[in-house]
Symmetry: D2
Subunit: 451 residues, 4 copies
């Protein structure tokens, strides 16, 4: 009896405790919201810096419940007024003057845009707004009604983080530690294993560049890592080896871009990558006149997934029949050290990868996200490397395959235009030849590839 009473007491307690927390969260959010109201009011101007500071201090202290309540209120209270919009739209319908259009522009802009601008006036404001968007995006899928709030932030941030305000900076061992630790934190493609690994990546035969915004002086928005090498690199492990001897960069003829990382989740969708690559190419060209090729060593993140999804059909082609038996062996831990197996897989997977990159999923754009990024930027798909990335993640993503996309400055604009307008992909003769093996095999077998 006592037990069940206790339990029930506990439940009640727990529930009332949860309620209390929820109430506290609502109270905190409401306090911040009422400061927001004051900040937007007529008389708030003289106090604006103080008010904005207080809102942000509260925001930084929010637990997730208070944050949710705050986002709810941003949507409920600081949205445009439909009645006003309808009235002005009607006026505009009757008389499409510039004045009416301006009034319409004014009433469709959510008041929270001005709120965000005023929050931005204090030190740390920009950083807080970038964080706010990151936190919105995190749970947006469960809170679709925040979409307009996210949208307004997105609009503002992409205007504020315009390329014209970004500063390209070289990152090296002279860079403050506060910035360097961000590289360790954010690098996702080829993780940085502590400071010694980082130090090797910043030696004189490597280059690292980032875009910075004056309002976030220590935080790269995006950064790119480059190895200066003799000849084209298809394998990433030698580039990442912390013990690799440092070579003389002035004798290098290739710049291999082996990683590019976006750091600010709150700036998702604001595109920096294309600008960054082009400016880095220019900077390297003027520093190292002997460089004659600029290319990536890129993963093919969607290849294994595509292969699994289409395994039956592909294995139905006589030329690729061995896939049925060999594809499952990619799950083995050390398949790539088995020379015979590896060699047989290579003969099957390299052509399929070429086919995947050039044709798979193409309604308009390639299925592979990395391919989409570089090809849209105007790069050309140049080469496919067997066992280019033998790390666990490299094998899981793409059976160890790596790809070079080449950036030729004279062709970038044309490639981009053909890609965007005609959905054409710039690629080498070699890669096209590989893909053709698959097409020919399918034709020969009378199979129409669904992919």
């Amino acid at each position: 009896m006592a037990g069940s009473l206790n339990l029930s007491g506990l439940l009640r307690f727990s529930s009332s405790r949860e309620e209390a927390l929820a109430r506290a969260a609502r109270r905190d959010a409401e306090k911040a919201i009422s400061l927001c109201r004051a900040l937007l009011s007529e008389g708030g101007e003289a106090a604006s810096t103080r008010l904005a500071g207080e809102v942000l201090d509260l925001y930084h202290g929010f637990e997730s419940q208070a944050r949710d309540a705050f986002f709810d209120a941003l949507n409920a209270e600081f949205s445009p007024d439909p009645a006003k919009i309808l009235a002005v739209a009607e006026a505009y319908r009757k008389d499409t003057t510039a004045q009416n259009l301006q009034r319409l522009e004014r009433v469709v802009e959510a008041p929270r845009q001005e709120l965000f601008r005023r929050l931005n006036t204090v030190p740390g404001g920009t950083k807080a707004l970038v964080l706010m968007r990151a936190q919105l995006l995190q749970t947006l899928s469960r809170n679709a009604h925040w979409e307009p709030v996210a949208c307004d932030l997105s609009h503002l941030l992409s205007s504020w983080f315009n390329r014209g305000f970004l500063v390209l900076q070289r990152i090296d061992w002279n860079t403050p530690a506060v910035t360097l630790e961000k590289l360790i934190e954010f690098e996702a493609v080829h993780q940085i294993q502590g400071w010694d690994d980082l130090r090797r990546r910043l030696e004189r035969d490597r280059r690292c560049y980032g875009f910075f915004h004056p309002a976030l002086p220590h935080e790269p928005l995006i950064f790119i890592e480059v190895a200066l090498t003799r000849g084209m690199s298809g394998r990433v492990q030698p580039l990442l080896d912390p013990a690799a001897p440092v070579t003389d960069p002035s004798s290098a003829d290739h710049a291999m871009f082996y990683s590019i990382t976006n750091c600010q989740e709150g700036l998702r969708g604001v595109a920096f990558g294309s600008f960054l690559i082009k400016q880095v190419v220019e900077d390297l060209r003027s520093s190292f006149p002997r460089l004659r090729r600029f290319a990536t060593v890129s993963p093919v993140p969607g290849f294994r997934r595509w292969l699994s999804a289409n395994l039956d059909q592909l294995a139905s082609l006589p030329k690729f029949a061995r896939l049925a038996e060999l594809a499952p062996r990619l799950e083995e831990a050390a398949w790539f050290k088995n020379d015979e197996l590896s060699s047989e897989l290579r003969g099957l997977l390299v052509p399929l990868c070429a086919y995947y990159l050039l044709y798979a999923g193409r309604d308009l754009e390639p299925l592979d996200p990395v391919a989409r990024f570089h090809l849209k930027n105007g790069a050309s798909l140049d080469r496919i490397h067997w066992l280019g990335d033998t790390s666990l993640s490299g094998r899981e993503r793409s059976a160890g395959l790596m790809v070079n996309y080449v950036y030729r400055l004279s062709e970038v604009e044309g490639n981009h235009e053909r890609y965007v307008k005609d959905h054409e992909i710039a690629s080498s003769h070699e890669v096209r030849g590989l893909a053709k093996q698959v097409i020919t095999a399918a034709k020969a077998a009378g199979v129409r590839l669904a992919v």
Copy 2:
């Protein structure tokens, strides 16, 4: 005969020459506009930096005719599409969803906003857009149809020049010459007579601060000049004297703000002044703990004009009857050196100036623009000084009167709020007493002052 023939030929020539120039201007503008089209097109992304650079190069080469044609086209071609707006507005009317609202936001935003954002991506882009707005504003009164273009630029620039992106910098003799020459160029209140004058204004008993934007690193957006003095200054000439001995700033107890200057015509209407004054007060307080008062030495630019306009009525009050005879003598070159005349004028004009500042033209705000600025910022009208500015412009504007507005940090927010909400003006007992003389005189005379 020959003569008239010649003349007619000349006219024809001139006219055809003008036409040719006009054609060339249209051609130039059209070339820039077609680059703008490319810049906004889907395929323009990879080439955007190049295209934006070319547009701005052309723009910088424009004569006024080409510029006018360019502005015309910005209005005609890159405005929102009324048909689309009407359609989306109708959809929104039927169904006021967030999606429809977003679509509406999108279609009411002029495509030139995106164009401006893309022009901003190149080095010098921000500066060019600030210049573009300055040039638009210059002839806007003759080209009212450019209003929407000006409006879009204004919207973008006030977002980009948000206080959060501005940097307060002290300006002194260690500042680069490229920045210092802007002070000489822009200072309008008390013109700087060359480098020696400037140097005195940057000595250690003076302070000068400016707001800078990272995209215009050498150009102050606004700057303020301060003298560190013992006691309150009511006369500006001693502060401006290049030969005045330099005093020890650490013994000063007053910070006198004697000039504040906006530098960027293209940012007209983007308010920096209030932020600047407050931050400078804070900076000075922490550098010089002995400072106990922060006040301006300000002109009263509209006083003489107001006095002339209301001379008859004011002179009809017995107490101010002498005005009729004495006011015209303000036109004399050296009236202020005539002690007797000056003394008599003082007894008349000082109370009238107090009345002018507190009551004149008050529907809601004071008539005097400098008063409006400081009072709205939360300052208090503290004192009126006879012969505070005996320069020609000082005499022309305000019969030589100068005014102190005092900034007390603890009162600024309250003053501002009362000013904005209740149209109350913070002022000293002394100034109110002076103004009361005029009111009493009017009552005594049974005159209802129209002003």
Copy 3:
């Protein structure tokens, strides 16, 4: 037979190989020396930068044999000429004019001083000369004839590293990694265990400052680590704990200097420490007005050694008789965790430590090197802490004892002067009382302490 033949062949080979290496080393050194000759020659001026660069490149490539040969030659060939000195000294003896004195000055200065000045003209020159002195000092004890070379370098470097050319810089997480890694490399008192440990030492409740020379911009010459605390710290482990919570520095009332490290072996004997401490005290005072005491948490590096050397005599005093039995137990790994043992040791060792610091080895100065440093700087010996440093090295050096030396700016000059002139030590009543216990015990026992 074959074996012994082989062996002998090997020996011969080895010996001839060693000879070959020695010849090569001599050749390398000779090449560098002949470049030095050219650099000092009349015609070498136009080529001086090139020649100096070549000498330093060779020097940096030297193995130890070549380096030794180079140092030998610096001594043999670039020393003053005794014959000349004798002739000029004789002239001076006959006629002690200023001219003859100047000539004498000139001939006694070794030509290698000018050589070093010319080597300094190239980028990296200063660093190379600092390295050269470090390498000289390393093997100087085995090569006493290099003393004059070391002396000349010492003379030059102490002139070049004059305090007036040093820059005090705060070192924190915004400092370039290239500098931070030097802290990890050089900190010897309380070793830094990698980047996370370093990061904690640079948090906002810690301060780190270094002296830098413009010619070695990334290398601290000396650095000091400070903890901002509430109350005096006697135990160093809490200050070093990477997991210790970060506190608000503005509430601290004590600045505890817990480590000071010289980084450049090549600048041994050039005294920076005293200047550094005083400037850091001043900097902290102006940043944190609430700080009221500046003190060290210092080791007593010579205490255990002194204790061992004098154990018999000390244990002969009845009051300290237990030493004979307990002192050996300091070798046990965990004696300090044994409360009873620790308590008994404390009663014996704390007074002895006070005696050691105030009287031991005093001809003129204390035996303990850390005491000598701080007392000569003008600090006062304030407190002795039992179990102040329980690390292995702390126990080995000083049985875990730590000491506070207090820097009171108003007393520093007087303390220093009394220390230097009268060999008086500034100390607290408490410490003097502790030392007196030993003296009294000795008197009581009729023992005259030899130490």
Copy 4:
């Protein structure tokens, strides 16, 4: 009577007043000297920064009498002790060991060297010592007994201002005004007429570089002005014209060095010029690959003086007989505008100038100081320009002649060596041909030129 009494009273007064001043000066100097004594004393270390600061404050307040007394005392009191020197010299004579040599070195070094080093430890110390030497040199000719003091300062400063510590900086319109005003102050060859003139000299077709020392961050030690031109410039007026149109520097093929100025009188004799020119040549070469010649546009400051002194002999050569009549006309204000006169003078003076530069006064080095400087640096005398500098000073110094010295990096070392060792002058065929006209004329006339 009264008059003479008065006068005598005045004289007495004046004399006693002078005496009083002299006494005050001696008192001030004595006060500084006693602080210097304390600074050098054993116990002065802890107080050294304070003491050094006080000495320099006093020094900066000295009138010339006090300064003279101070310099007297520096010589009298802080010189080496002859008795000690003699004793140590005798010891060395008996036993020429390294130890005795070191003792000798120590006793011949004046104690004021250590004094100067300690004065240098405070902020502003280096600047004060440079000033001290400048003030010593000013009146050294009247105070020969200060020579040893000047010598010690010279020794220290040339060690401290070693090339390795100097920083080459480009000076342009982004340079702080505090530095730019020094250019206006110091430029002596072609005076800068205010800020507008300066601005033109810093436009993008001009370059200005200076050497800076970290202890004097705002003061160039030496600076050089360069014009980037198409073709060689022989006339300096077009280069100096503030109204000259700015040209595109990337199209220039010549870098014309038209002025080089030493700024610190206190560093007279410390040679920076040769280093500066060479480094500027290298910097320009890498910035402007199209530059193919680096040359000066230099005055010939001693030509007119030499011409006057040797006029009779030169005019005695039939080929130069017209000199007797024409040379005096160089005194006319506008002779150079008289084409006929100018043309005749040209035929006479250009060969004589070539002769003057190559042969005049040559015991070992040319008579002309500018020639000595550039030829010793390794430049080659390339061309002589008639009416190269038509300014008043240009006509007074060299009858308007200007000269190009060419710096060819590949020949500089060889030229320097031949100049220093063999007194050979590198010159063009053309200039040698001109000089030969004079030699031939002398031979023909059987005259042996005395010069």
